[in-house]
Structure formats: C-alpha cells, structure tokens
C-alpha cells in the first residue's frame, strides 16, 4: 500500500498511523519533520512543483516498498505557509519486522530530501530568505546507492 499526499492542511498523525497499521504487519517506523522553534523563524513557506512532486514521492515510496518488501509506505508533505511546531513532513514504513521498517523509514526521508521538488522560505521578522540546500542531505541520500543489501 502506498499513500502519497501533498497538502495545504495539517498532518494528522493518528489518521496516518491507522493507515500504516491497517496492513496488519508487525512493525511501523515513522519520521516527522517539524518547523523548529529555536532559531527565530516566524513563518516557513513551502513551495513545490505540482505534478512533479507527487511523481517524485511515488518513486521514492515504490523504491522503498521494493527494496524492503514493505506492506505500506506513506509520505505526507505540507505545502504553503506554516509556523513553528507544525509538522512539515511525515513518512512511515510498515514491515513484518523492525529492521526493515527502520531502514526503509530512513530511506524515505533521506531520498525525499534530495529527490522531491520542494523549496523552503523562512521569514524572520521582516526578512524572508530561501533555505539553502545542505551537502549532508546528498551524502545521506547517496548512502542508499552504495550500501549493498
């Protein structure tokens, strides 16, 4: 089961967990990214590339399902304006056992960071700035190319 959502509205963790657990497997690993409250950001705005975004997320989810034989992969990403403490992204991987679920969850978020067309703009007071991409994100995504399972 794959569920992909690019949405303006808040991410409902309980609803997404119900979806992830419905597969009847033994292990669900999740990752949630939040707007950090500790660096003075007032508003975070997420822009994306409609159509291309959903296709990219689907490809990431399909890659995880195939590699770890998951029973479910979920990717939900907020777009539009949001505030500190709000959820930006939620991913979940459901598998028979915990090793597969944990690895696949890390894969989903690592790949999403480099493979999906989202851009963040932070507003601090009157200043707005586009967030710079981090080299570390590419290193994190690339380790899934090199590792041999």
């Amino acid at each position: 089961m794959i569920h992909i959502s690019v949405q303006q509205f808040a991410i409902d963790i309980a609803a997404e967990m119900t979806r992830a657990e419905a597969a009847g497997a033994g292990a669900v690993a999740t990752f949630t990214g939040l707007v950090r409250a500790d660096d003075g950001v007032g508003t975070l705005e997420l822009e994306h590339y409609p159509g291309a975004t959903e296709a990219a997320l689907l490809k990431v989810a399909e890659g995880a399902i195939e590699r770890w034989s998951l029973s479910a992969a979920i990717i939900v990403h907020r777009v539009g304006p949001m505030h500190p403490g709000e959820r930006i992204v939620f991913v979940a991987a459901t598998a028979a056992h915990r090793g597969a679920a944990l690895e696949a969850c890390a894969y989903l978020i690592d790949r999403l960071k480099t493979d999906a067309p989202f851009w963040k703009r932070e507003t601090r007071g009157a200043e707005a700035s586009w967030v710079e991409a981090r080299d570390g994100d590419h290193a994190a995504a690339a380790r899934w190319d090199n590792s041999s399972r």
């Binding site: 590339y49 999403l112 960071k113 493979d115 999906a116 067309p117 989202f118 963040k120």
Partner: protein
Amino acid sequence: MTIRMVYFAWVRERIGTGEESVEPPASVVTVADLVDWLAETSPAHAGAFENRSRLRAAIDQDFMPLDTPIGRAQEIAIFPPVTGG
C-alpha cells in the same frame, strides 16, 4: 518549437514570473544552452541564472543534469537545489 518554462523559489522571484512560453533557436541543444540563451533575453533572466552551479532542471517533470539535450521537451523547469522534508 515552443517550450513551456517553469520556475520555482528564488529563480521564479528573480525572473518575476512562474512560467512563460519560449521559442529557442535551433542552436539551443541542451538545457544549459537554453539557460544561456534565456539569460540574454532580459536582465532579470541574467540575474536569476547568474550562478549556473546553483541551478537544477527538470525536463517534462523529471530531474535532469543541465547538459541534457532538451530533445522534444514540452516543459522545462529551472530551480534552485531542493530543500523539502
């Protein structure tokens, strides 16, 4: 050949529009050629495309390196490195 250009994030802001239709000459083979040609069309384009190493592209919604031939592409996107998640 008419190509639909789409721009995101600060590329969009600097150019001043999120999309436009362009008809590049036959000498434009790759996405990089297209960027060079567009940079000549206005100071705004020149500014947005100033640092080529900070640009990424998608051809018909698939991420591609800038040296990819545009072929019969209908939609080409130019944008900064992605920062989702």
